[in-house]
Point group: C2
């Protein structure tokens, strides 16, 4: 019996989450699990109800659960709010509160969707890379952070800061992931300019010694943003700090042409971990039945694997998704090789059938 | 009479700089200028001679000049040196010393080279964007920066810091550049997370009011790294801070498929400004006659425009480059539509002939 915190959020969040739930219900039956869903408010929905994007009650609910499945948050309605009250604060708050320091972002090319990639087919190859992004350190959380006025001069500042320990723990996750893949880690930094990058490089090199079967290389972040476009096939696991990872993981995602289909996992040292689709809340298509539930369903598959150790069930979900695509089922965001254009719920049904 | 500091540097630096000089000598004759070239050591070459990448004598020489033309620095030979002595320090040192706060990086698609782009032709369109990167602030220069150990915990830190004034002056450059282009500025930040970005956004909005003919929009940096790949044609001028600009300008450059051909200008409030090709020193092909001199020649063209106000001469150089490409001349780095594969010096000669 596993307890799942079910945070649907805003926009298309609730729609894609409903399909992930359907999939998990099927997994219950087929694989003999029992999942208990605990719904909590988050993002704009929580702002409307409680005035804050991440209410204490939602945090409590998550503390009580084995894993968190997160939809999407945000929308124009809340755009004008001051930054402390923005829907995104919910996701930052959850990461920090639960110590979710490692963000796993696979960028996979689904073979029937190759032609959806903006990159030429001969370059994109069969892209399959994993970005491991440090998620609770660096610029986003470092202090001092703020604004001050002294002698008539207004200045604002953020702090990029990393301890040895913060680098170590995320590096271990990257090397372990590489052991189950092509056994290559590219650590991305800006060690020619940043002090944090120099410590990063040093620590990563030290950790690498514990994984002699994994090959480590280093790359500057500016070069990496180029290499992802010209030769993405060279990468297996990319390990990088928070801000660089934010930028590079989105760049990688878009190379696949399937941003609506990519999942993510945010891991820490203890449960609950958090799983969320990498797409946003897409308020423009909310309620039209056009949202693609695959990213959310694959996030649930990552949950099965990383939180519940249920690799077999996880693979069954992934294979069902692949089969749905192979057989030509497409939500309307995918413009490629469409046989049958289906709605959000129909796509969920097709995948459920194939499990 | 203009004095040009001529800093060739390492690797292919001297080779491409020799071609830029040939071009400038031709401009002298055709357009009635007089250029005085003052050669200075920089990068690895300066380390070998003086033990430092940016000797005082080179700084003095530049102070005495109207503009700086810079080749490229770096190479394996100096890779093991401690960071204060690395060849790259020369370029950071020049930027800081001369207050070169605005880095202009055009990303242009040369029509005969469209097929060299890694991006599909229907997406790349006729890309022509300009990145204006803040170059002397933010993470790269902010203090405190360093490493410390307290209570057994090792930590490293860098500071992203911007004053209102630093944002204002680079914003003016972006808006002015947009007035001569398609009149659109996209300001890129991470205002949902960073205090510096919130100040950035506020100040840019204020400056925008002085340019009512220019349309301003804002974009998060992670989204921008995606939009550059899926729809680069939407951009005219991208204005952003130092680190984001470092990453996004390299990503943009590679979209064109012509990284060996893109110039850059670094401007400040007073001369000398600095001009350099955006490619590196490519030690692997140094001395083989295979380097592409076009990025350096176009950097000289930017110098004619921005430092000497010589738009006519600048355009003549740009048109000569375009004609060389149109007529099928290619250095061996360009794998596309090659009619005549020529060496570095031959490419220089062809361009000189077309001026
Ligand atoms: C919403 C935002 C704070 C967040 C981030 O940058 O971490 C998002 O872009 C992401 O990548 O998950
Ligand atoms: C060499 C390095 C410090 C430099 C930078 O990042 O500014 C380079 O990458 C550039 O973009 O000019």
């Amino acid at each position: 019996m596993y307890k799942i915190a079910f945070l649907a959020g805003d926009g298309i969040g609730p729609e894609v989450m409903a399909e992930a739930k359907k999939v998990l219900k099927t997994v219950e039956k087929k694989f003999g699990f029992k999942f208990d869903f605990h719904e909590g408010l988050v993002g704009g929905a929580a702002i409307d109800a409680y005035g804050v994007p991440l209410p204490e009650s939602t945090v409590k609910l998550c503390e009580d659960c084995d894993a968190i499945l997160f939809g999407a948050v945000g929308g124009q309605k809340w755009d004008a709010l001051s930054s402390q009250l923005r829907p995104e604060k919910a996701i930052l708050g959850l990461r920090k509160h639960f110590g979710l320091y490692a963000n796993l972002r696979p960028a996979i090319l689904f073979p029937p969707l190759v032609s959806a990639s903006p990159i030429k087919q001969e370059i994109i190859g069969n892209l399959d890379l994993l970005i491991v992004r440090e998620l609770t350190g660096g610029l986003y959380f470092g202090t001092p952070k703020g604004r001050e006025e002294t002698g008539g001069v207004v200045r604002a500042f953020d702090t990029m800061i990393y301890t040895e320990e913060e680098i170590k723990r995320v590096a271990h996750i990257a090397f372990k992931a590489a052991q189950n893949r092509k056994k290559r880690v590219t650590s991305v930094d800006k060690a020619n300019v940043l002090a944090t990058s120099r410590l990063w490089r040093e620590v990563v090199e030290r950790i690498a010694k514990e994984y002699p079967d994994v090959e480590l290389s280093h790359m500057y972040v500016d070069n990496c943003s180029m290499q992802l476009v010209v030769n993405p096939g060279q990468f297996d696991v990319i390990l990088t700090e928070n801000t660089f990872g934010d930028i590079l993981s989105d760049e990688s995602a878009v190379l696949t042409g399937s941003i609506g289909m990519l999942p993510s996992a945010s891991l820490g040292d203890k449960k609950p971990y958090l799983y969320e689709p990498t797409h946003g809340s897409a308020p423009d298509i909310a309620g039209t039945g056009r949202a693609n539930p695959i990213a959310c369903i694959l996030s649930a598959a990552m949950m099965l694997e990383y939180s519940f150790g249920a690799s077999e069930a996880s693979n069954a979900v992934k294979q069902a998704v692949t089969r749905a695509l192979d057989e030509g089922y497409r939500t309307s965001d995918i413009k490629t090789g469409a046989g049958k254009v289906v709605s959000t719920t129909e796509m969920g049904d097709v995948i459920v059938n194939f499990i």
